[in-house]
């Protein structure tokens, strides 16, 4: 276990509330099951630029449908930076990166009228920082035990969280972290048909946590595409709501247009026969395509640096 600095903030989130709180680079956010079996929805933003927020699909594509201890949580694809390192996460904390967040209409359709829901709880929490309900984004859901079948149907099963379970998130950048107790708790297996409180701790940075952050930065930053808003061709945040085209706008697509370079490769009889066999098997539509695919597959297998969602 990585030693953190002293406890800086402690609070209890009663059902069905949440709190937006700064968690700075090197600090650790601890989310604790006060009684157990309570789903926690989580949003997060770059504290200095709210348009950079937690990228749930980016995190999913870099890790898996569930994240676990040792995984990195990433910001949205437009920025693509590591945001948190999951320092601690028990097996009983099933995570979900598919469900987004529950919202009021979901429950009204089911006959409950206006029911508590994470969209509204998150919106109420981030309002303290002048963010709007439209700024709520898909959640990283913790202690949300969802499953899916072979044709992609998605469903929730019993919450496995135990009293005292906790998750530690090490902040890699300055963040506004927004944990909330899930509002669907009393009408499904998400929290086993009842609401429970969640305890929140924020620990100061320590030498060890800062060393870990520096290690993440060294390995996972500095790549093309890890941009700030200053790198954007259009970087002013639009203030009005109506969308109108800019007649003077000229898009700049990356590496556009794609050009092709042909290489003439002498091939022996035996290799040609094998390439033709691969064409027959469907790897490509002709020998040239099979060779191109072969070269790229070889590179991916033998030389491509690790794609790296997982950190430790």
């Amino acid at each position: 276990m990585v030693p953190c600095g002293p406890l800086k903030t402690e609070l209890v989130l009663r059902p069905v509330s949440g709190k937006a709180l700064p968690v700075m680079r090197g600090q650790v956010l601890r989310i604790i099951q006060e009684e157990g079996e309570q789903c926690v929805d989580f949003n997060a933003f770059n504290l200095h630029d709210y348009k950079e927020y937690m990228g749930v699909s980016n995190t999913r594509s870099r890790n898996a449908f569930r994240v676990k201890k040792g995984d990195l949580i990433w910001t949205v694809s437009s920025r693509d930076r590591p945001m948190y390192l999951i320092l601690e996460m028990p097996e009983t904390c099933k995570t979900d990166l598919l469900g987004g967040r529950c919202r009021a209409s979901l429950f009204d359709r089911r006959g409950y009228g206006l029911h508590t829901n994470c969209q509204d709880t998150l919106a109420a929490s981030i309002g303290e920082y002048d963010l709007t309900p439209d700024d709520v984004h898909d959640s990283l859901n913790m202690w949300m035990n969802t499953e899916w079948d072979s044709i992609g149907r998605y469903f929730t099963v019993r919450n496995t969280g135990r009293k005292g379970d906790y998750v530690d998130l090490l902040s890699v950048i300055d963040t506004l972290a927004v944990p909330v107790t899930c509002g669907s708790g009393d009408v499904g297996w998400t929290s086993n048909f009842s609401f429970k409180p969640i305890r929140i701790h924020v620990y100061d940075a320590s030498e060890e946590t800062l060393r870990l952050v520096e290690d993440v930065e060294r390995r996972q930053t500095g790549f093309k595409g890890q941009r700030t808003s200053a790198d954007f061709k259009v970087n002013k945040i639009k203030a009005d709501r109506e969308l109108r085209p800019n007649p003077n706008y000229v898009p700049e697509f990356v590496n556009y247009p794609i050009t092709l370079k042909a290489v003439r490769v002498p091939l022996g009889r035996e290799e040609l026969a094998k390439a033709q066999e691969l064409v027959a098997r469907g790897l490509g539509k002709d020998v040239g395509e099979v060779m191109r695919i072969g070269v790229m597959l070889w590179y991916m297998k033998n030389r491509e640096p690790a794609r790296g969602g997982r950190f430790r």
């Binding site: 290489v263 003439r264 091939l267």
Partner: protein, 56 residues
Amino acid sequence: MVSADRPSDEKQTVEVTFSQQQYVVLEKLRAEGQLGKTDAEIICRIFREFLEQEGL
């Protein structure tokens, strides 16, 4: 595609096309110098290794 010209050593010339983004890989490997000096040599060598790794 397989071209009609057939050198005396029974080799056939195959044209392999790469996008400029795929070609970055060949440039890198050429700079390393371990797999050959020319694009054709490198592609040939890699394709042979690929076949071997695929058990063909």
